[in-house]
Amino acid sequence: MADLRSNFIGIKSPNPFWLASAPPTDKEYNVRRAYEAGWGGVVWKTLGSEGPPVVNVNGPRYGVIHGADRRVLGINNIELITDRPLEVNLREIKSVKRDYPDRALIISLMVPCDEDSWRDILHRIEDTAADGVELNFGCPHGMAERGMGSAVGQVPEYIEMVTRWVKKHSRMPCIVKLTPNITDVRKPAEAAKRGGADAVSLINTINSITSVDLDLFAPQPTIDGKGSHGGYCGPAVKPIALNMVAEIARSAETRGLPISGIGGVTTWRDAAEFMALGAGNVQVCTAAMTYGFKVVQEMISGLSDYLDRHGMELSDLVGRAVPNVRDWQDLNLNYVTKAVIDQDACISCGRCYAACEDTSHQAIAMKPGRVFEVIEEECVACNLCVDVCPVENCITMRELDIGEIDKRTGIPRGEYANWTTHPNNPMARAAE
């Protein structure tokens, strides 16, 4: 059993799986159950300023995208920050942290964009014994209309300014949670770093309308015939989140800035992927909301088994794939592969044929008896056939040896060469 103990910017937890700031972490009852189930840490649902708490809608807060068998692929929500009084949350945080000193407990914060508000809230949370704060610059709905959440996160100057205030008025480790609702995630990350953030966490939810009620002609979730865009999360957003994490991990300006990875983490494998792309730990919400807190047990055993299989420490995994995330122009244009269909595994559904014939390069032949064969002369190795084939490993890509003729081009496979030196590139540099 691999050692999964995690130290993220000095915050220790028995494993790198934290619950993200969200409905599951809104109160003591839930957080205690989460810790009992095995979660390494919790980011308490976002606290606001002292005074009358925010209110939530009293109709549906969530919209959903289902896959086969009503599998939850994505959820969006229009819930705001905690709607419980500040004092109640603070009392509960203190109580939980006292009973679970070995677990990470981070407090998420969102207050108006002025120094006094931030100083006040930081002062209020001082004696909770919480391990750190996470600045919610990501929430894209409701609070953003009031100049908070993603309204801050979309302006790098604000991020830098507020982060600076937080570092000035608190000694707690500070994580800045970023919104994906921007064009280049590196800019807010750089701003957080300039402001003195100890880490960034991403992604917060994505602006979204999950569906439209075609009888009411209203977006869902629908409140009395109307809807508002909500924040999208869950497995569907993972590819977007992975890319944003990798962009920050590999950028010269932000390299080395600790990252807490968020966005559709559902299994140990998702977590490992985020960590390989540079996340020091991960935060989870939708998987817990779909399956309950127990899912963490599979994440723990799965990640542990994986590390054992590869003889790695947890720290060996973090960032291990980052050097392989490159610009397109760095890719080897002399890497040539061809699709190969395993006739014994083929079940003759013809999906590869339909995909290739209708939408790609007409590189698969349908022969009598529903036998499907690759035409190497046409195959550009796009991989679409592999992607649509319902049988795992039935279609694979064979790499040509150096010197082997590519039947499509008639040219022998050469050594590594990329676009920067390609003759078709007007900006090509002479090969050195």
């Binding site: 086969a68 068998d69 009503r70 079940i347 003759s348 559904c349 013809g350 999906r351 044929y353 339909a354 349908m366 529903r370 319902p390 049988v391």
Partner: protein
């Protein structure tokens, strides 16, 4: 337990009304919406899908399954019914494991095909339950077509002709329409009087009149029909039952399986229907299985199917055979009846083991006897009373292409015509295709007369 449970002889009321009701429930209860959704999600939407090719009516299963998956089961039903107007019954009685589901690539991959039949039933039941008939008639052509037999072939033919704007009169010998759907299929496959409900729904197209008590050869002649109508379609099925050719075959309680199945289907009170304690069914097809299983369900203690060839030659599908054995029916293969024993009524039936060699089936000297107080013949049916002048082949009406007989203006399809597997779905395909051909022919003649 009922008093009559173990009474020897052929007696009614072996089981209580409750037990009978339970035994004759829907053998394959319909999918609910969620089950259908899950089942539909398994379809790979194959290119040039093997399930379409395997369906005698070429139902576009990937399309209708996708329509179910996307929440439009009524559109799915239209896809089905467009190819097969009796898609509701076919969903219940088709040997799908030999047809669409047998060809499904998930059968190849996992041994678990997409439940095409059950999904078809889900879609068609839904539309029919709404009382919606999704087809309308083309402008009236003034042409009239006679259809003989209101079975699957005749109904499919009549419906397609009505759609094309022709007027159709169906001549049916029996009291009810439906043919084998009504009279020849196990009760538990088509509960709640489904066959009649389906015919009523089919007739909503309009332009189809059914005249009952009209048997070809009695007062009705092909010549008269040809004289009165613009075209004639023969779909009267097979009225005769093959003989056992075993000594003592005429003893009491030696019956045709089709009669037993018919009586059972028509019975309003199963407690009044007599059945033997020891029942033997001779044959290897669906009729044999339907008779044997229903005899068990009525309370027969020992039911045995005896088939003269090897199990691999049985025309009942493997699924049907398994259903029989799971119902407590014993299947004996490679044995043929040689004598029916008894004094008045049958008490025993004697078999010879057979060997299937290059020169055909040979009876061996090895014999055995089975106790039997009721014997059902299910060794095939034959065409009775084919109209004179009609070319026959192999005992059936010879046809060319889409059901064209040797007589111009006369088409045939279904079990009475040569070709096909004598399945409901084959009959539907033949009736439909003959209708298309008749329509083309009539349209051509209309052009001629205008010129």
């Amino acid at each position: 337990m009922s008093q009559a449970r173990l009474s020897p002889g052929v007696v009614p009321g072996r089981l209580t009304p409750d037990a009978l009701a339970a035994n004759f429930r829907d053998v394959a209860p319909p999918l609910d919406r969620h089950e259908a959704q899950v089942a539909a999600d398994r379809c790979y939407f194959c290119h040039d899908a093997p399930c379409i090719t395997a369906c005698p009516t070429s139902i576009d299963s990937p399309l209708f399954i996708r329509q179910i998956a996307t929440g439009t089961p009524d559109a799915a039903a239209r896809t089905i019914l467009d190819a097969n107007i009796l898609g509701g019954m076919c969903a219940r009685v088709c040997p799908t494991e030999n047809l669409c589901e047998g060809a499904c690539v998930r059968e190849t991959a996992e041994g678990k095909p997409v439940q095409i039949g059950a999904l078809q039933r889900y879609a068609t039941d839904g539309l029919m339950a709404k009382g919606v008939h999704p087809f309308t008639r083309a402008a009236a052509t003034g042409r009239r077509v006679a259809v003989v037999g209101a079975g699957p072939a005749g109904l499919a033919c009549a419906h397609r002709l009505a759609m094309k704007g022709h007027d159709v009169v169906i001549f049916e010998a029996r009291e009810k329409p439906g043919g084998l759907n009504e009279y020849g299929i196990a009760s538990y496959k088509a509960v709640d009087d489904f066959a009649q409900a389906e015919v009523d729904w089919l007739l909503k197209i309009g332009g189809i009149e059914i005249r009952h008590g009209q048997r070809l050869g009695d007062t009705l002649t092909l010549d008269a029909l040809r004289a009165e109508y613009d075209a004639v379609f023969l779909g009267m099925g097979l009225g005769g039952v093959n003989a056992l050719r075993a000594e003592g075959e005429d003893r009491q309680h030696v019956l045709d399986a089709v009669s037993f199945i018919r009586d059972l289907r028509q019975s309003r009170d199963l407690t009044t229907l007599p059945v033997g304690r020891d029942v033997v069914v001779i044959g290897g097809g669906m009729t044999a299985v339907d008779a044997a299983v229903q005899a068990r369900l009525l309370g027969a203690e020992n039911v045995t199917i005896v088939y003269r060839r090897g199990q691999d030659r049985m025309s009942a599908s493997r699924h049907e055979q398994d259903h029989a054995t799971a119902s407590g029916v014993r299947i004996i293969c490679n044995a043929a009846p040689v004598a029916v024993h008894g004094n008045g009524a049958v008490t025993e039936i004697e078999f010879a083991y057979t060997e299937d060699g290059p020169s055909g089936l040979v009876l061996t000297e090895q014999r055995f006897r089975l106790r039997a107080d009721q014997v059902f013949r299910a060794i095939g049916q034959r065409l009775d009373g084919a109209p004179e002048g009609l070319a026959l082949e192999g005992g059936k009406i010879a046809v060319e292409g889409p059901g064209r007989t040797s007589i111009p203006g006369v088409w045939a399809g279904g079990d009475c015509a040569l070709g096909g597997d004598d399945l409901t779905v084959t009959a539907v395909a033949e009736g439909r295709d003959a209708a298309e051909d008749i329509d083309a022919r009539l349209a051509g003649r209309a052009i001629d007369s205008a010129a």
